[in-house]
């Protein structure tokens, strides 16, 4: 503080250059690593050459050229010189080089190659075993091991829906019970930064469609306002790519307005979860949440993958952040005093009966100033409510809401449908306020799971005479039917009935009970209508 301003500035400059020096060294190391990997790839191509059909060989030699071309500027001594010279402006110096490198990126061309090989191999099984033997001979791995690796089907681990412009995470589903890292939102931002960077760097305006690291990949399916990022292992087939595209389209057609007028209200996208979960479900896995045995924990791998987007990463400085994930959090001032048992009891007291999630199963993990919630929530909405409630109850300044919402299989979708009773205003065929979103969710579930027929049963409260109530209950079901038809469900998929006041859910002596009774219920099975008071 005694220093004068210019001394300060001088010191600042010095510190800054020192930092840059460290970064230059790091960059150089990264480039060397990159080049190692690339020359490996080259070897690999060579060793494959003799075993594959002509058409493929051509493809490979093409890629080789591309690689050589892409590499030349990276490895050229000119660049090293440039870095030396331009320490103050590393980013700008690297910018054009990185652009080209990514454009012809190893990831892209290798993915293409592997996919082509796999498609061919699918068609010629005998060829496959020859291929495998040759490969293992050259690579020195047992043929059995390779067979295992190759037979691993495509497995989707995580699906992100990300707002294209802002990088804000709109929704996320994970196949792992504890698969969520603390900050999926950050991943959304990082992917977007990389994507935008790549796009502007490719003068051709190509979209980055795939980021790959070893056996882990992120597929990016671009839409007008949002994109899907799917983290998976294995190699994608055409079916998956088509489904990915379809899922993206559905998100856009269903949420078009919310996407176009996006103002940060992520809750509006809750129902997109269903389609994303379906993708996870169909191309996932025996890994039901919690059952757990996976070869590698997925999050570090995702981070590695992002790191492997390598040069771009170093450019954007995101590497710091990702590397930091591997390291323990630095020591915090005073550890947070949280009594988990007390907190659990308070949480239960606040939310008992209001949510369906297993509150007792929630764990509270204190790390320095951070309180992390772990466990399962039964819906994305409840996940938020629980997070907020804990924020109110505890002194923690940072709350990591790691609660996971399980992707649901069909039987759960069915249970969900039944729990979505829509309520109506008194003596009226109009929905009660705030009930419309339930109809939207039902429509989404029907479309996503290709449900052939849905049964709608209208009910009334106990007031009024029986004939009128029968009519009113039917009108309510009819109202819902109309909404479904307007939203693309065929008329012959909908069967309606009105049961009047004959099957009350709540006590007709109280206003709350009456409100509960003014409803339409959903079912996939005609026998269930009127008999679906499942325990909640």
């Amino acid at each position: 503080m005694a220093e004068t301003k210019s001394e300060n500035l001088h010191r600042l400059r010095r510190l800054m250059l020192a930092a840059d020096e460290a970064r230059v060294a790091e960059l150089e190391r990264a480039l060397v690593r990159l080049s190692d990997r690339i020359s490996d790839t080259d070897d690999w191509l060579e060793m494959l050459d003799p075993v594959i059909a002509d058409a493929l060989a051509n493809k490979i030699s093409e890629s080789k050229e591309e690689m050589a071309e892409a590499l030349a500027p990276v490895m050229g001594p000119a660049l090293k010189h440039q870095i030396e010279e331009a320490k103050d402006d590393i980013a700008d110096a690297l910018y054009p080089v990185i652009g080209r490198t990514i454009r012809r990126s190893i990831a892209e061309s290798m993915k293409q190659l592997v996919k082509t090989v796999n498609d061919k191999v699918d068609k010629a099984l005998s060829f496959q075993s020859l291929f495998r033997k040759m490969k293992s001979k050259v690579a020195g791995v047992s043929a059995g091991e390779l067979a295992l690796a190759e037979s691993l089907p495509l497995t989707v681990h995580e699906v992100f829906l990300i707002h294209k412009q802002s990088g804000i995470l709109l929704n996320h589903v994970s196949s792992q019970a504890n698969g969520e890292s603390s900050d999926q939102e950050i991943i959304g931002g990082m992917l977007t930064a990389i994507r935008d960077f790549a796009k502007t760097a490719f003068q051709s305006g190509q979209e980055l469609s795939n980021i790959r690291y070893e056996d882990l990949q992120i597929y990016l399916e671009d839409g007008r306002h949002a994109y899907l990022a799917v983290v998976c292992t294995g190699v994608a087939n055409d079916e998956f790519l088509a489904r990915l595209k379809l899922t993206e389209r559905r998100v856009h057609s269903q949420f078009y307005r919310s996407l176009r007028n996006f103002d940060g209200d992520v809750a509006a996208f809750q129902a997109s979860r269903i389609g994303m979960a379906k993708l996870l479900h169909d191309f996932g896995t025996d890994n039901e949440p919690g059952s757990g045995a996976r070869r590698v924990p997925i999050w570090p791998a995702v981070v590695l993958l992002l790191l492997a987007a390598g040069a771009a990463f170093y450019y954007t400085g995101l590497a710091d952040k990702t590397i930091a994930w591997f390291r323990a959090r630095p020591a915090q001032p005073a550890p947070l005093a949280v009594d988990a048992a007390v907190l659990a009891a308070e949480l239960t007291e606040r939310l008992q009966g209001k949510v369906t999630s297993d509150l007792a199963g929630i764990r509270f993990v204190v790390d320095g100033q951070t309180l992390a919630l772990e466990g399962q929530a039964s819906s994305a909405e409840e996940r938020i409510v629980i997070g907020h409630t804990v924020a109110n109850l505890s002194p923690a300044r940072i709350i990591l809401n790691n609660l996971n919402v399980a992707a649901f299989p069909l039987h759960q979708a069915e249970a969900r449908l039944r729990s979505l009773r829509v309520q109506f205003a008194a003596d009226s065929g109009d929905l009660a306020p705030g009930e419309m979103h339930k109809l939207r969710e039902v429509v989404t579930i029907m479309k996503t799971y290709d449900i052939p027929t849905i049964y709608l049963t209208g009910h009334t409260d106990g007031s009024g005479n029986e004939a009128l109530n029968l009519q009113l209950s039917r009108n309510r079901a009819e109202k819902v039917r109309q909404h479904f038809i307007e939203n693309g469900i065929a008329a012959d998929q909908i069967v309606i009935a009105g049961l009047g006041a004959s099957e009350p859910l709540g006590n007709n002596a109280t206003p709350e009970g009456q409100q509960l009774n003014r409803r339409v219920e959903f079912s996939l099975n005609t026998k269930d209508t009127g008999d679906n008071r499942d325990n909640e």
């Binding site: 503080m1 802002s166 950050i186 209001k354 940072i398």
Partner: protein, 178 residues
């Protein structure tokens, strides 16, 4: 279920703008991780942080929260098309000045105009940082003048002793929500 459907949560992207060394990263780290570090590691490219602010405004009796997704950008003298994309979709900018260095108050250097072109209608907050270094109390004049020009809020902060940092982010969160 009824409690659940009333939860409202927003996610907002915020960009940190300002010349090198003014304390952008330090302010974010203070706010998000409650940490401060005297060493200076200049940011290259962009780093992204996130913090949830719960219960901002319970006026309607509903839980209302904001996820601030904070993009801590490197100061880049000349914007390239790639670095410009970092501004996309932001709801607000926090423009940081170093009170000990008057030259950091030059708005041209920090591309505020470009930011507002990319995000018309975005909120802006002006911050004079490093109050702890101002022995005779900070001189607010320049800050007030600039904030007045943009009809924006301003704050005097110190990432080092933490003063006004939470207040500044809280005010911003309330602003981007309303």
């Amino acid at each position: 279920m009824s409690a659940a459907s009333e939860a409202i949560i927003y996610s907002k992207k915020i960009c940190m703008l300002g010349t090198f060394g003014v304390g952008k990263t330090s302010l974010v780290r203070r706010f998000v991780h409650r940490l401060f570090d005297d060493t200076y590691l200049s940011t290259i490219g962009v780093q992204i942080y996130k913090k949830e602010i719960a219960d901002l405004n319970s006026a309607k009796g509903r839980p209302l929260g904001v996820n601030l997704v904070i993009w801590d950008l490197a100061n880049i003298e000349s914007l390239t098309p790639a670095t410009r994309t970092h501004f996309n979709g932001a709801s607000a900018a926090i423009v940081v000045f170093d009170l000990t260095r008057p030259e950091t108050f030059d708005l041209k250097q920090i591309h505020l105009r470009t930011f507002l072109e990319v995000n018309p209608g975005a909120q802006v907050i002006f911050v004079g940082n490093k109050t702890d270094l101002m022995a005779e109390g900070p001189d607010e004049k320049a800050l007030v003048a600039i904030a007045g020009e943009y009809d924006a809020h301003h704050f005097l902060t110190s990432a080092k002793d933490g003063s006004n940092v939470d207040e500044m982010f809280q005010a911003l969160a309330a602003n981007v929500i309303s």
